[in-house]
């Protein structure tokens, strides 16, 4: 197994003694107890396990632990700050953008990445960016609406 690897998740450093090839998804869920990140397919095809690695959107089932070592990782649990929801989280609540909500963590994290890249996204940009995220319940229109609402809220919050 070798030396433990250091990863930084939601601002906290962790030393993880696991096979460096272990997908980050399972390190988060099993070693760190961060179960907000979901398993959906194990092949990067559904988006349920989306996280930010070094600010970039990644499917954590496709990122080996060794590739995440030393980088700042943000999961769904890291978006709420001092009891205040991230605007994308708040927008999902406001838009009622879920049914079973199993895709919600991945959708929200992907939405945060989307707005980082396109602060004022067009409907087409939202659709294209989230094409890799599956909502089997079919709440896509509300998710797109939530992203647009969050973009608006973040624009207003900017000085």
């Amino acid at each position: 197994m070798g030396e433990p690897l250091q990863i930084q998740v939601n601002g906290t450093r962790h030393s993880v003694a696991a096979d460096p090839e272990t997908p980050l998804l399972w390190v988060l869920r099993e070693d760190l107890g961060l179960t907000g990140t979901k398993y959906g397919c194990g092949e990067g095809a559904c988006g349920a396990c989306s996280v930010l690695v070094g600010g970039n959107l990644r499917r954590s089932c496709q990122v080996p632990l060794r590739a995440a070592a030393g980088k700042a990782i943000t999961t769904i649990e890291g978006l709420e700050q001092n009891g205040r929801l991230h605007p994308v989280q708040q927008a999902f609540l406001d838009a009622g953008a879920f049914q079973c909500a199993c895709c919600t963590s991945g959708m929200i994290v992907s939405g945060v990445a989307l707005l980082g890249q396109f602060p004022s996204p067009s409907p087409q940009q939202i659709t294209q960016f989230l094409q890799g995220n599956i909502c089997r319940c079919g709440t896509y229109p509300r998710i797109a609406d939530a992203i647009a609402r969050a973009a608006e809220a973040m624009r207003k919050a900017r000085p």
């Binding site: 399972w26 179960t35 079973c100 909500a101 319940c137 509300r142």
Partner: protein
Amino acid sequence: MSEPRDTFVPEPERFEFTAAPVHHFDWTRRDFFKITGSGVAVILAVPRGADAQESGRGREFGHALPQEISAWLHIGEDGAVTVFTGKVEVGQNIRTSLAQSVADELRVPFESVRMVMGDTARTPWDMGTFGSRSTPTMAPQLRRAASALRDLLVELAAKRWNLPPGGLKANAARVADPASGRSATYAELASGQKLAQTIPAEDPVTPASQWTVAGQPLPKVDGRAFVTGRHQYTPDIRPEGVLCGKVLRAPAFGATLVSLDSREAQAMPGVTVVRDGEFVGVAAPRWRDAERALAALRAEWKTMPQPSRSEIFTYLKNNVEPGGERNARRETGSVDSALAAAPHLLAETYTVAYIAHAPLEPRAALAEWKDGSLTVWTGSQRPFAVRDELAAAFHLAEDRVRVIVPDTGSAYGGKHTGEAAVEAARIARAANRPVSLLWTREEEFTWAYFRPAGVIEVKSAVTQDGRLLAWEFHNYNSGAAGIGTPYAVENQRIEYHPVRSPLRQGSYRALAATANHFARESHMDELARAVGMDPLEFRLKNLTDERLRAAFQAAAKAFGWPGKKERPGQGFGLGGGVEKAGYVATCAEVRVDRASAEVRVARVVTAFECGAIVNPDGLRNQVMGANIMGLGGALFEAVEFENGRVTNPRFSEYRVPRFQDVPRMDVVLLDRKDLPSAGAGECPIVGLAPAVANAIFDATGARLRALPMVPNGLKV
């Protein structure tokens, strides 16, 4: 003319399990208050009969309390209202809408109602959450319980003030005496009480026209837990010392295990291998360790030849179960003579493929043994049936098994059985530790059951001026749900032919109603074209059911039927029907790109009527979701299989609807406050496929009679 659909057994029918629990354990009044704490409670007793099949059958409740409990309601000394029901939340929003009904009837703020759901140790027996039954059955039952609890609180106040209860008013969680201005909160009245009352299910309830909390678009309960990732679905519950469980799967359906060499796996640190007959499972500290242990098992299997997808429809036609009791047949008038004499005759065959539920949370369970008792958390629509399955599998009395269903990552009819629960429990027993087991996506696509494939043959006759004369409809294998026609036809023969399916099949959102509506509403479109009538006009001419007429008219109006073609490749279609006591009509606009062969559903308008609406926001969400899910089965979803192996068991190979597939959607909700509320999770899905099929015909002249219609696009 009689309605033929009445003669078919309503859903749940052939795929649902109906066995009642075998063992019962006695409850006492003391046990009851141990669960709830002191306060005032109302226990709802359902008389034996139709309702009892849904909920509350067979639970013994000690001597003082009745045998037929369907739900109970408790108000504690702090005024908190707790509702206990065996129903489960799988994304359909029933946790929220049931709480609304209780808050409404009890006259308390919505926020003060807490739902305890799907826990076999704490909630009354329930058959399961399926068949669109929660809203029409459980909601009125809970309303009755809430209204009785309100009366009880009024009586307590009357006793306290030495007044007749008739003059007192209950509102906003207090009982008031308008004459004296005195009032007491429910909490004060419940304080120090250990009062339980049993009521029959027939008490009157507040009519929908006077609802205040129900009928409102309230947001999902616990929404914040979902957007923060804090909600724990079954795979997220990780007790101290939990191991990861995995099951060795056969290489093909029906394969038998010839030999197993597990030495290498067993030598791995922390790994337990269990073999019990054909069942082989492993437990390991973590997911990756369990994957490795599984890969290290050397197993030899014996497989047998079986049908493949390419031959499935011939197979289904040729393998009808003779005289099967599940067969359903209805005949009125004389179909044969009407067909023989008819000016316009049409005979066509329609097919549907096996499809997968593909819930984003695959089947999962966490099992924990303690002192010979078993507790299992699992995502299931039928917690009590899973309890029975576990009790049977491990030869335990029911009171040794507890099943808890956390709010679950969807089901769509796919989570009626307890495989994951039994597997986790078997491995946990061998490993002597709690075991969490989560099916991989490949397992989910292979070892879950499927929405049945089917062949549907329709023969019909119509007069020159568009009146239906004869209707003959045969469904092979896919099911009897929605098989009867809502149109007025004197001469009918409708028959469902069960087949021993080569793939394991079971319930799916709306069951066979999707297939039967696809065939019927496509065929109606073909008939309309044959006599040169507008498809809407043709339907209305043959339709006396006012509610369905209203749905068609509302959808057509909102859509701008018949539509105006402004570009090549554009087409419009409609479809609709009655299912699970809901009425739906769907209009679709498609665009077919001749160069790329791409078929795009550009716009969908759905009119839906399910009686009095309990939560319009949740309902809209369901209707849109049903349309999008329906789009997958209509256009591209199909389980590919060959000789006992599923060959597309991944999201990269089995295409489900994604963002770019989503059309512009409008939902018209027809709120009938004068009618009882029906369930809404299923019905809205049935109009989509035929509406799209008919629109594709309108756009291209190509009549597509097989679902999925365009898995590889459409060359015209």
